[in-house]
Structures are given as C-alpha cells and as structure tokens.
Symmetry: C2
Subunit: 358 residues, 2 copies
Amino acid sequence: MTSMSSAPTPRQASRRPTMRDVARLAGVGIKTVSRVVNGEPDVAPETAERVRKAAAELQYEPNMHAGNLRRGDGRTHTIGLLVSSVANPFAAQVHRAIERVATERGYAVFATSLEDDPAAERRAIAALARRRVDGYVVTPVRDDQSYLQVHLDRGTPMVCIDREPSGIDVDTVVTANHDSAREAVRHLIAQGHRRIAFLGDLERIQTARLRRDGYLAELADQGTPADPALTVLDLHDDTSATAITRRLLTLPDPPTAIFSSQNLVTVGAIRALQQLGAEHDVALVAFDDVESGDLVSPRVTVIAQDPDRIGRLAAERLFARLDGDVGPPRQLVVPTRLVVRGSGEIPGPGRAAAAASP
Amino acid sequence: MTSMSSAPTPRQASRRPTMRDVARLAGVGIKTVSRVVNGEPDVAPETAERVRKAAAELQYEPNMHAGNLRRGDGRTHTIGLLVSSVANPFAAQVHRAIERVATERGYAVFATSLEDDPAAERRAIAALARRRVDGYVVTPVRDDQSYLQVHLDRGTPMVCIDREPSGIDVDTVVTANHDSAREAVRHLIAQGHRRIAFLGDLERIQTARLRRDGYLAELADQGTPADPALTVLDLHDDTSATAITRRLLTLPDPPTAIFSSQNLVTVGAIRALQQLGAEHDVALVAFDDVESGDLVSPRVTVIAQDPDRIGRLAAERLFARLDGDVGPPRQLVVPTRLVVRGSGEIPGPGRAAAAASP
DNA sequence: GGGGCGCTTGACATCGATGTCACGTGGTGG
DNA sequence: CCACCACGTGACATCGATGTCAAGCGCCCC
C-alpha cells in the first residue's frame, strides 16, 4: 500500500511487528494496544483510533500463541480431528461439517489421517497434545483407547465418531450400523429374496462386524437360515470383492441378492455383476452411498450414511463440553436413509411364494 | 498406569505438568529438563534417565507454543492449506498428499474450505497468520492476491495450486488445463467428430477459461469452426448441466460429441444422455475423473488429473522454501492422463469422411 | 476546597519454554 | 601445585502477549 512495498527490489524478511512496535508508533503503552486489539472497553475513542491506524500501517497481526500462553484458560482455539484419511469421501464430508461449526466459533481444525494404523493414532494424539488443541474428534483405530484418559483428566474433551472407543467413556456419534443392516436385509427379503449374500470389510473393523451382525440378526428374525458360504468378511478393496462376488455367483446354489457393506466392496461387486451380465437379475443393496451410484444401470439402491450430520453433532458435542457441559457422556446414533434406486428392487424367487403362502 | 488414575471418582481437571514440575520431581534445574526433552548433548546419562522417568510419570508433553515463542526462528511447524472445500474429492486428495509430506517433517496442516468465496480467502489467511503458520498452500479465489505480498516479505513462503495467482510472484503447481483440453478435443476429432460441444464451469474460474480456450484453440488448429451455440460456460452443478445438455442434444443440428470440463457437469451430462437414450450415440470425454466412472455404461473416457502429484509437488516446493531456497519462483505444470474407457471412442460422422478424404 | 469516584492509562509480573552465560568439579599438563 | 579445560548444570533474561494493580486526571458533591 505505501512507499516501497511495491518496488521490485530483492525483498528481505522484515521482522514481524509486535504489540510493542504498534505501541511505539501510536505513542501509547503496550497494554493499551492490547485493549484496542481485543476490543476491551474503557479506551478513549481517539486513542483507539490512533492505535488502529498504527496497527494497520504496520500490518500488525496478533500472535495468538503468545496470547494463549498468558491467558488464564490457555485455550488455543484449535481442535484435532483423527480420521482414516482426509481423502476418504466419507471422512472428508465429516471433516467439512466439523470445520463449519468450528469456523463459526473461531476455531481451526487440524486433521490427521491414520490409515487404520494404531501406531499412527498414538503419534497423532501426541503431536496434537504438544500443540495443545482444546479438544479431539477421534475415529478410534486401536483396540484400546484407555491411554487417552489422561487427556480427559486434564480437561481436554473428546468425541469419538464412526466407531465406539473402548477403555474410555466419552461422547460418541455413530451410524446406526446394526439396525441399518437389518433394514437392508429386510428390504431384500420383502422383494422375495431368501439367499442373500453379505460382503463385508475387514472383520477387525467394528462397523464391519456390526453390519454383519445386523444382517445375521435380521435373517434369524425372519426365519431365513444364514448360509455361512454367503457371509464373506475381510474384503477391503474392489478387486478382492470382484473376485469373491464372481465366485459366489457361480456357486451351484448362488445368492439372488447381495448386501454389500462398504464402498469399495460395492464397486467390486457391481463390476462382477456387470462382467457376468447379472446386474439386472441379482439384487443389490449397498451400505454407504456410491458416488454417482445413480448413473449406473441399474441404479444402485443404497443405505446412505449422513456424514454431514455426524460431523455436525460431533462438533456440537465437543463445543458443548468446551462450554462447560459436565453431564454424562452421550451416545448419539445417526440414522441412515434407504435410497431406493432400482438395484435393490429386483424381485427374488420368493416373491411369488411370499404372496401365495400367507 | 499408576495409583489412582483408574479410580472411578469424579475426575477433576488436573493441572497440566510443565517443565518446572518435571524438574522438581527429578531434582534438577528446568534447563536440564529442556536439554533432555530436546535431546541436546552434554547431559550425564543417569541425570537424563532420572528426567525421563519423571517426565513419563507425570505424562509430561512439552508445550510447543511456548517453545516456538522463545526459539530464535519462531517456527510453529504448521502450514496452512486453503482449498475450495475439504469435502471436494480433488482437494481432499491434494490435502492427503500434502499431509503425507508434512507429517514426515513433523509438520501439522490446517486445512480451510473457501467455497469459492473471496472474502473467505482473506479471513482464512488472517486466521492462519495469527496462528503463525510457517507457510501457505493456496488455491486462489480472489482476482488479486497482491495483499499477500506482506506475508511473503515477512518470510512466510506460499505455493499456489490449481489456479495461477495474480499480483504476486510465487511458486505454482497447476494442471495442464489448456493442453489437456486440446488433447480431449483432438481425441474426439480423431474419432471423426466435428460438432463437439463444450460444457464449462463458471467463466470467472480461471481453469474453466483455460479449458475452454484449449478447446477453442484445438478446434481452430484443426480447421473445425467452433459453433458458439455449442460452447457453454457458467455451469456449476449437475442439474443445470443436465438441462443444458438436453437442450443441446435436441437442437436441429446437435453435437455428436461432448467435452465436459468439470466433475459435476459431467454427472449432469451423463444423466441427460441417459434420459435421451443417447449415451451410446454421442461421444463424451470428461475432464477430471468421475468416481466409479468405470461402472457407467458406456464407461466414461476421462482426462484424469493427478491431485496426488499436485499436492506432493506443492508441499515439496513449500518445504524447499522453508529450507532456504531463494531461487526464482517456479511454475510447475502437472500433466494429465487420457483414460480411454469407451464413451470417448464412440465414432462420429466424420469417421468415414476422414477416411475418404486424404 | 477537599475527598472521592470513574474513566484512562501504563508499569510490571507472568504464561512455559529456550538461549546465554557463568559456575562448580574433576582431570590434565606444565 | 596451580592454571586451564571440558563437561554438566542451573540462574536468569527473554519471546509476545494479557492480568493485576496503582496512578493520573477531571469532575461532582458535600
């Protein structure tokens, strides 16, 4: 704006101005600058104006860290978010929702990708603790989160999302995995299916187990015996899912419907169905929305999660704690939405039988 | 681990231990604790051991902010990332790549979503400046980034990604928008198409203009006059793209191929093609990979960007600057990859003509 | 006219760490 | 036997801000 700042000379790092510099320029004490910058009352209007002008001229930006250090509460106005990967679409949407709430309150968010590595979880927490974040939103990876108790004891709140933690008692926000899996199966049974395959993620992942259990529970409730051969776990990418799906569909007594319980697995299953030309004969319901899953033919019926709501609720819980809420930890369950698009409504052989029997 | 830490009593916030506490417990001076914690030499082994034990017992975590404040360089080991939205798949992958490089060097990343709001860009930069980030990776939104010069002058480096900044001269890492658009058009022309429609994002977005210009340049080079009626800009979501595409395809002299230059626009175009049952007759090449775009029928031929490489290069450039590189700013252009999947290889009417005429 | 009040203001200690420097100790060499 | 050095160690100032507190000043009221 002024004098030489636009000259093409080799610029050398100018020292960053501090409150002292502003105070000197404005001819006031440093504390008065502090008052003006923080909008405290009891500063004469013309003094405030002089200070503001000096601050603007020097392009002064307060150093939050210095302030946080001195200030009583020591808040850094920063929270930490631990997710599987910031590149994962589900996690990214959760992240965005949390960021929205945080920004509104002047908070910044550190996001860290764990890639399902238990060691990374510990490292990430330690790194954030050294940065004195005011709170954590964590997707638990390790089997045991009890090592986090010390942070809670020191007054740093924590909210777990997506998976239940173990060893600590904190607010959690999770998807209704079990019930939603039941709903998916119920939907397929209603279309007349009896032989329904389950394609699941790694068994060590809690949500994968919950979805499988929901699947088994609904089958049991409906008096439809589960065939162990059709219950597959430990799939984690699309190629293995494609291979397994092809194998299942070429069994002597193949499934007439598939409940695929994870994103990439769904992609693999669809590809297998397409390869075998069976996509219009075998029903499919997928857990987790598939990006542009409504461009595929047939369009994919899904159990859509609500990452936006999960993120928002988690952030709201965290800030409630930061605002002093000391009530007992809450377990929030976020419902899913069954999005009927076609693939899940392909009728099964039981359709006629179901109509005939009662 | 020890004594009462597992008792179910109502825990009250225990004060966070400082170096002084560790020093007292270990019976040494605070400076010695500092030495041990930072691995400085010249500490007697048994003293170091005593300090480490005390630190572990108190679960001491150093306060990085206090250290940064005192330390000469004042580095916070934190960088800021400004993107359209952390939930945008492209930005999320860039973010992940940057995070990978940053984590390796003990850096944490603040990511901020701008949602293409110029005011948000300024706000975000200011918020990060107050937190004294060591560097910025920015997706420019405003028309003019010259207001950022002061940060550069103060020794905070910056790398711009995805779009070229204006008003400042910094390292940039961008996709080869112009050339890739030409390649897409060339590909369609090679299939015999002459009437090729262009579907673009908001004209005020630089990459949208570059892609359109590439499209026009290639048409001109190939002696194929561009029809203004087929050059559409200012699309930003799938519904408007669907509407426009339907309109174009029902023109008296409709295009035989479409080059859609943004993600959501592509989704809209595909939907329109499917609604009109034209997806196997009208060729389509899309800029930017469509998630599971290989499940659609026909599978979508795309110009795939390389967000991972963009993020990695941007981070490497930023850290090179932080390591003292004072060379002139570099403009890195990241190539795209034409992924042939089917939709772009639907032959056009010129195919025969092209073969007939020499 | 003086005590007291309210509004402004700045000196100073402090937050938790690190840089500087000086001190104590034991060994080495002249 | 003493000067000197290297090593280990801690006292103290300091980074950039804010909380505390007291002082200066004008004004009101008795």
